[in-house]
Subunit: 358 residues, 4 copies
């Protein structure tokens, strides 16, 4: 087993999946397909549920005891898919047992809990990775690359719509349920010199669920730009669209159009150099328009969770930071907490705790 010592052993990393609910089966399936991992356990308080997930043909062990699993030296790492409120105790127990941790979003139920986990992992030299699944899609990888490469120019605005007839969660509102996707994507694609300074959130609960089911999130960016997220559990149609407007090009990402997820438009509005204009013409002609071609880049079709598993395994064997490490999880938590505070305070802008970006 690899670790701080830098010695990388060829043997696979023993993994236990904790939680056999909604997302656990996906972790199980992808862990089994990842060459660097060896799935040892599926652990759930309800052992019967875990057995059903594994089906009748599996050699993977079932356990209803986290202690048992963490005590097994064949387990080097855990992937946690339990409710957010349990992330702190489960992940902390794993870290204290010397296990690397991959955890579902959000990292924890609040920023303070999340920070404890980050510090616990850092102090032990263990990996703490967030399963920000969308960040591992070919679309987001491509977006991150072309933004880093300057193809879009300066980012002017981001607009994300994530609406569908969704499961009203018992423990969290629509922002905590859906917006982590958008916020972690923003985190993955924005250049390092741009961060979110303030957040305002508006929400409504038209069905009397006791929490916001429709929400709008406005983010002020450090360089003057704006980002917006519309999250909605009540829409009869499913929309997963993000527009990233740049000074040079603008991308429309439609995640429900597999044959053309990304459309990169050489279209936009430019500000003409004011110097060229007489005072009279200035009012009307401060802008000019580009209407060029659109390119839809060829993207591979790869299951993102497969790439998550590979990154987790690699970050352990190569003893390096995973792409979506605990700090990315903290940045998302800081945004969610600010959003919740804005919701409580009637939609005013709320400052966002600043977390390092590497």
């Amino acid at each position: 087993m690899p670790g701080k010592t830098g010695i990388v052993l060829s043997a696979a990393i023993g993994l236990a999946v904790i939680g056999a609910g909604y997302w656990g089966p996906n972790l199980v399936r992808n862990a089994q397909a990842t060459s660097g991992l060896r799935l040892e356990y599926l652990c759930d308080l309800d052992a019967e549920r875990a057995r059903r997930v594994l089906g009748g043909y599996s050699t993977v062990r079932v356990s209803d005891s986290l202690e048992e699993v963490l005590a097994d030296p064949a387990v080097h790492a855990v992937a946690i898919a339990t409710p957010a409120a349990t992330h702190l105790p489960v992940a902390m127990a794993a870290l204290e047992a010397g296990k690397h941790v991959l955890v579902e979003k959000p990292l924890a139920a609040n920023y303070a809990d999340g920070r404890k986990l980050v510090e616990a992992a850092d102090s032990r030299g263990l990996k703490l990775m967030l399963d920000h699944t969308f960040c591992y899609t070919p679309a987001v990888r491509h977006l991150a690359e072309i933004i880093a490469g300057g193809e879009l120019g300066t980012i002017q605005y981001l607009d994300s719509v994530r609406i569908n007839l969704g499961l009203v969660q018992p423990d969290v509102d629509v922002l905590w349920d859906l917006a982590p996707h958008d916020l972690s994507i923003f985190d993955a694609i924005l250049p390092p010199d741009i961060h979110v300074t303030e957040v305002a959130a508006h929400g409504s609960d038209p069905i009397g669920a006791g929490k916001a089911c429709v929400a709008h999130l406005t983010l002020r960016l450090s360089h003057g730009g704006m980002a917006h997220v519309h999250a909605n559990w009540l829409s009869p149609t499913k929309i997963r669209t993000m527009v990233i407007g740049g000074s040079a090009k603008t991308v429309v990402w439609d995640d429900l159009n597999p044959s053309q997820r990304l459309s990169i438009y050489d279209r936009g509005v430019d500000r003409s150099p004011a110097g060229e204009l007489t005072e009279e013409k200035r009012a009307r002609t401060i802008v000019s328009y580009r209407v060029g071609d659109m390119v839809a880049p060829a993207l591979g079709e790869r299951e993102a969770l497969r790439a998550v598993m590979a990154e987790f395994a690699e970050s352990i064997t190569q003893d390096r930071r995973p792409l979506t490490d605990g700090h990315s999880g903290l940045r998302v938590l800081a945004l969610l907490e600010a959003a919740s505070e804005s919701l409580r305070r009637g939609g005013v802008f709320v400052d966002v705790k600043q977390e390092e970006r590497v």
Copy 2:
């Protein structure tokens, strides 16, 4: 000519179109095709521009003098398509000359000016009608009918997206340019017992145009619901979508899909009666889901502006309120003013002046 006296003459209503810019040609074309109207003039300060609009085969007169046009007794009504800042003097002159007025949105540059026009029209028994064109589309007519008929149940939320690569206007920001469409549509379809109480607006100007080019508008409704408008001049793709969520059904209106503009979904999330549940089950099962069929009603394809012209003519000959009268124009102005104040004040909610709805 018909009037307050109730005498309806068979002769057509003499009309002058004022303004030969962007929208004027559409008024000219539709006025000529409306049987109850007789187009007498196209009036513009730039007579050459007016001549170009009419083309080389027209018997319609050109004038560069509003006074001349208003002095002509053959002119009973005017349709005004000049910049918003000129609506007050132009429309007031027309009303003072005893002419009925159809005016482009917004009614005036601000609420106070708009009110002067409404009062001037009311005191003279003249029609003052807003060209809220979208309210005359078959889609909005159908929406208004099924909402009034109760098919959607209680309106829970409205969400409108109106984005495209748009002309950055010299005199107004994106909210004043685009949102009047959405706000007048809301006004036309919301039941009379629901009104907007507060408005918050967030905007950004990423191209340095000196005004908001991207804006988000959140409206609080009197019964607890929420409405949202996303207006954007910088999007490379054009989107014109509105979702109207109801407790019984939800409609998605995609105005760019002529073969299926309205989709009425019998889908949604319902709150289960709490009484049926044990305390334990309550947290998880307070909601239930409907997933029924979708119906796309057959809608006629009629040019909305043709219906605007017909309504204007009919409201005069029948001496009745037009569907989108001056008060609807005032309600939209009240919302726009509140939105601008919210923009200035950093996005806080601002109370909306209440205007009668009939």
Copy 3:
């Protein structure tokens, strides 16, 4: 194990999947998830390939010997996913060993071979079922129901487009590769009193592959209607659309639109009763148009192959004909053979061997 005797045992049916190539893994996965089945073997000449398919966590046995598998009394049935040319020997061996058979389309490499299999199964009282997967989708089940219930009226035409950038097969042309899907769907939804009488096929091989890569198939129906299939391996975009035109309603099935696969239009052209018309008006007014609403029925999202497996298991335990039995496979083979003959003879219409429909 159930059988001719009518005794239905509660024990699951032991199954072996034969062939670990393109489709085999899907059979393995779905067999494991089907409660009435017990997957005993994955059999492939290349045992290593079979092992890779099962992965590192499976209790299912691998075998490279068909004989071994067929000799095992725990195996009651086989699911065959080997190349079409091998269907005859593999399936015949299974039948001769007393095993029920589920076989990939097409049933065999030609009609005569297929007939041998049908007769072998019938004479032994064994099930011979075709994996006509699409026939088990919720969309086709719904189509079959509403056609049987008369909602569409008389079927007037069918038009199927199945094009994409496809794998050019080494052994078959595009018709034998893709058209079995369309032909088996037609077979499943057409009323029993309508059958295909003649077939004409046009094909081209623009890339020099040595076989048709683009093909058009025209089917004459016994009641005077027409059906058409466009199959194409060379299209850069994927289209999976079928239109079923009826005298009362018309359905458009877009299989790539998961949120609206079926659209049922109350639109069409009707022939007016000639008697009502004067001779003069007759030429122009023999038709009238309906433009009514469109309904998109709510369909479940179920993996079709899961339903295939369930039907195979049920047909065995209940000792009844499976929905897509050997005769449906023969009907498809008769159409494919006629199509190939038409291709060879320059596109003339070729009579289709008539096979019973029950």
Copy 4:
């Protein structure tokens, strides 16, 4: 007025539009907007219909006498939008009166009639132009350019779908009504060294209209490729799609998607050089796949009929062949006649009369 003498006068060309039915109003509108033309008459046997088309504000003269119009020396050219059966007498009369002729598709009711018109125009040095409107769209102009420039490589196949709920014509079947569009587009974009050698047509008349309402047309090209047209009056949905497959790139043209009419895919199937392969590998690996980016070129939005009018005017003033001259009309007629003969003869391939392409 320009003519054979080559003298080009600056005065506009006097035009009469003949026929005030379905298409005539479009000719009137666009003729009025074309600077090189001067619309003198709208001529129809039903003068009242012509007056309605012109409306109440026009200075254009109405006539119900073709003789009167042709006798007027202010008329230099006519645009004919009468039923196809009348094209021969009307156009011939115009040519004999020394007028240039623009005529709706098809050129005439049959090839022999069409040839008479071509010869009459040629012998008099008059322009005879077909209103093949689609050939003047930005999409077809772009297609013609990139095909001529070699961007697509060798054309491998063409596939056109033109279906909608259409008007069942009293005088022609669906092929003669709709396919002229596709055939004239093929004619405009195919390289000069490729022509159609044979045509086969299948049709059906499921509503008893007395003529084919659904038809499929297969065209064999001189270099071995194939083209196909699906024309259908009975489809509840409108589709206007053409795929042009090339050895290098493939274009999908969706005319109903104004924001992305042309999609140029760098995707395809290539034949590997056989020499590189061992005999054993040959069967499987004779093809390779390209999956590159897609580009949607920026196209202007121009009304095609405006460009038709401009081309007609220019071809007269510059005394040159119009882009879609009488010979292109004859080539389309040759294809339609062959198609009709194939329909009569049960779908066999029928040779196509070869007409020069310049």
